[in-house]
Symmetry: C2
Subunit: 152 residues, 2 copies
DNA sequence: ATTGAAATGTAGGGGAT
DNA sequence: ATCCCCTACATTTCAAT
């Protein structure tokens, strides 16, 4: 575990708000030189606090107008079942996120489809064919808001 | 809706895989000049296909070891209820994502907490106090995998 | 007071936009 | 042409001795 001081947190907060700004622009805001800012960012990356920079795409503009969250219960839950399921699901490109969870369901999947017809095809021919799938619950995404979340 | 050709899709695929690479490096891979690559990227941004670049943080390294997905049903679902709920939830910093959904639940929330004790506090004093909250379902995140998702 | 570690600043080259 | 990333090197700060 790494120690984060006030300046590190300020940098993280600023970059979460706008990941495109340069180290020099950020340094000016925080009263720090460009190399000092850059070195702190790199240290945060090396420490694994910053895990990456991700491109955000508009799924609708790409022709995927439907996003569905699926809760999945496995019928049988041995170690092999989990591995089989995870291996099989990696072959479905429409699955954007696989979350292994504990609670009412075993997995949560974020699935995109061109439209509802396309989604039915994915659900019936792909999701339902996954090994060990038991109960499935679906929720259609209407809108989504991402918040910065707590830093320190 | 914008028309995307094969090159646009190749650019998007490459940038989704690695959002840090420069336009020139990307152009070399795709057999395109650097300015041509850069103009295409900017065009994709202006068209709203690329909506932004987001910093990915490791919540655990920030001291938030627990992530929970909450499904929320509202007790009353008029227009005012939705607005009240969304306004109230924006005051809870531990809520990272608010998804308005259609199906078994009305909202899905991604919530981070320092530990289970901290989560209980957030659940009882914050989430359960939200206006109009009915049924709540919880799933604890064990692990998560993000996949590139389909482009074309 | 002195030393050593850590972080900062200035300056400059190389590359990208 | 401008801006940014990145390294090198000298300087400062601060804690511990």
């Amino acid at each position: 575990m790494i120690e984060l001081d006030t300046m590190d947190r300020a940098i993280l907060r600023a970059l979460v708000a706008d990941a495109t700004q340069s180290a020099s622009a950020l340094g000016r805001k925080l009263g720090l030189s460009q190399p000092a800012t850059w070195r702190r960012i790199r240290r945060l990356e090396e420490a694994g606090v910053i895990t990456g920079r991700r491109l955000e795409l508009d799924a609708e503009k790409l022709g995927f107008g439907v996003t569905v969250f699926l809760g999945v219960k496995l019928a049988t839950k041995g170690r092999v079942s989990l591995e089989d399921f995870e291996r099989a699901i990696s072959a479905i490109p429409e699955v954007q996120t696989v979350e292994h969870i504990l609670g009412v369901f075993d997995y949560r999947l974020r699935v995109v489809a061109r439209d509802i017809t396309d989604f039915e095809r994915i659900l019936r021919r792909r999701i339902m064919m996954l090994p060990g799938v038991g109960d499935v619950e679906a929720n259609v995404l209407l809108s989504e808001e991402r918040r910065p979340g707590p830093i320190g």
